[in-house]
Symmetry: C3
Subunit: 277 residues, 3 copies
């Protein structure tokens, strides 16, 4: 996410031919995101969320507003049944305690067995050695999508959080990597995109990143190409935030209004407002 | 809860005499709901809530807005003291983990001993076999009121979620049964009512049902007839939602504004806007 | 916190000279609070919060709106690392369970070792004997600031919650004591102040007190005199609430708008609106 109106491309210089080709790719990508939004509303996928207690309520409300159906249990004797009945899983390691660790292992096994996509959000792996170790172990379990911020990227990859390091890291982990910040970068082994929607107040709302990761999971349930699904989710969130900011007076109202604008968002909004390059 | 303005009676054909009698019953029921609202504001009952972590904050805010005083601990060594000092208990089995299971047993024993009403909200019993078993065990402990949705009703009763099956199920369990959906149905062994207030955005707000169950507990603390108390709570919530929807632009603002309108709600609002049949 | 516009001094009669001197002290105190607000925005202190699950989300959003950076884990193997990397700690004993008890002990030790301030919020010590015992044990571990309401003060001090009993209790515990209510009283062994900002709807918003205690911790990270830091935090919260109330229609919107007004608050707002005596 970036400041609204702050369009910061990550690519270097490009000649005119390349620019035109990129514009066409961008148009196709946004059209596909619009299709995914329609599919999300039609299919109403179930998303099981293992997320920190701080983020649970907003994550559930964001998923409901988008059209998905959240569940959140971490009880060891029932989480496998919940995941098996879901269309996608998100694993966020915030407020990580022993029951959550156990639940995460069971849930990832169940997701892998069911063949559903799962998204890893390695919150605060830069803050404690134990969490870094756990984050790396989860990465080795092959998440479909990895969403993280620059400090978390640096810890997990051992590399500076620069655009050029993303595709290699994505290839190595066979995952889509979404590096969120002022501009969101989304890469797999072969493709990359920069997303410039969003609003600076989003950084002042707790759980916005966690809820965004859950939205990625919801879109991954309806678009089988996780690179496209990730772009669709982050663009939808960013455009909804920009539309909400127009009627907000700070981060408090933005968080609330964003649920309204996401609920109302349609393909036309995405086609007109998406900033993908 | 139902769509605003969408008045869907559950009863079959009725002749004119029956219709008049029903209208009188409905008027009396709404007047009693208005009395209960006044009593709630005067008495400010304490409601102990064992509820899932996703629903805790909104449940607490809804109770506070209505005039009740929430508490939420699940620690085994102190929950009995909290329940003994409360005027009602609500047991919601969402995000069910081991500490919650233990807490629920202690809390129900304490409520039974203290003679205070308790409400059971068997969230997601349709999603895992273990939860269904636990839900049935709790039902056998004789909740004063059982609030559930059609999928949960089907699992606990073994019957389709139809209005005609409610009184028998209520009789068998010696409980008031509140089946919430587009129209809320409230039945005990001898009486039933259909409540048509509410707004369709409520289904897109997490914890709305859980918070509603807590509100039922709050009203059960001030009206000793749990059938009337349940109706009063659901009508108050539905009318507050309709009033909030007028100044809302989606589910995000509705959740917030509903706290304001519930806080401001008075008996006149209920008498004018309640749709009870 | 008190009703907006309801300026209730706690001191008794005073002659004119005393009144003038007090006014000067009050002016200096408010100017220092304004400096602390600027420092908070510049330094963006990290505040580790052990708080109840009901309060986590609002506490995080309040800290973010003010300019601080919250973290909330209670996992025993990583909480020491989080606290060591933080600038202040808040310990709230709501929804107290075994993992929280363990986490609290580790966190206080880590804070003491790191020499960072910590704030104790002994929620509901008046509701269960076990919690009262635990609250007293924590008080013996020398919190920098103790924030509590009159019922909690009575249990911990064995004295009625009157202004005259605060300095002695503060001296005995070598802590700043903030007794919150219609008027907030802030005392250490030698000084005391009464704060009359705020709005009556704040009492109808869950976690407002808990979030306020976290804000005290944030200010204690940027003003080394905890008496001044506590005043600064409570005045900032109270003024933000008054500004929010102007554009709110009840407790639901107040909670949201307060995040906006706190985010926007500047020193001029404090200098003009603070009611400190």
């Amino acid at each position: 996410m970036t400041r609204a109106g702050d369009d910061a491309p990550i690519h270097g210089r490009a000649d005119a031919g390349e620019a035109i080709s990129r514009e066409a790719i961008s148009r196709d990508t946004v059209a596909r995101a619009a299709d995914a939004l329609d599919a999300l509303r039609a299919k109403r996928p179930r998303v099981h969320c293992i997320t920190n207690t701080v983020a649970q309520t907003y994550t559930a409300n964001l998923l409901l507003a988008a059209g998905a159906v959240p569940s959140m249990t971490i009880a060891p004797d029932e989480i496998a049944a919940f995941v098996a009945g879901a269309d996608a899983l998100v694993v966020n390691i915030g407020t990580l305690d022993e029951p959550r660790r156990t639940a995460i292992g069971i849930a990832i096994d169940a997701a892998t067995e069911a063949g559903i996509p799962w998204v890893l959000d390695p919150v605060f792996v830069d803050r404690s050695p134990g969490r870094a170790t756990f984050g790396k172990a989860l990465l080795a379990m092959r998440p479909t999508v990895l969403r993280l911020n620059p400090a978390e990227f640096a810890v997990l990859s051992g590399l500076p959080a620069e655009a050029d390091h993303l595709p290699g890291f994505a290839r190595e982990n066979q995952a889509v990597v979404a590096l969120t910040g002022e501009t969101d970068l989304v890469a797999d082994a072969a493709r990359r995109a920069a997303l410039a929607n969003g609003h600076r107040w989003m950084a002042r709302i707790t759980a916005m990143g966690c809820a965004g990761a859950a939205l990625v999971a919801a879109f991954a349930a309806v678009d089988e190409d996780p690179w496209h699904a990730t772009i669709a989710a982050l663009v939808a969130l960013g455009v909804a935030a920009e539309r909400a900011a127009v009627v907000s007076s700070g981060p408090g109202t933005l968080a609330v209004r964003l649920l309204d604008t996401l609920f109302d968002l349609d393909r036309k909004d995405l086609l007109e407002q998406a900033k993908v390059s």
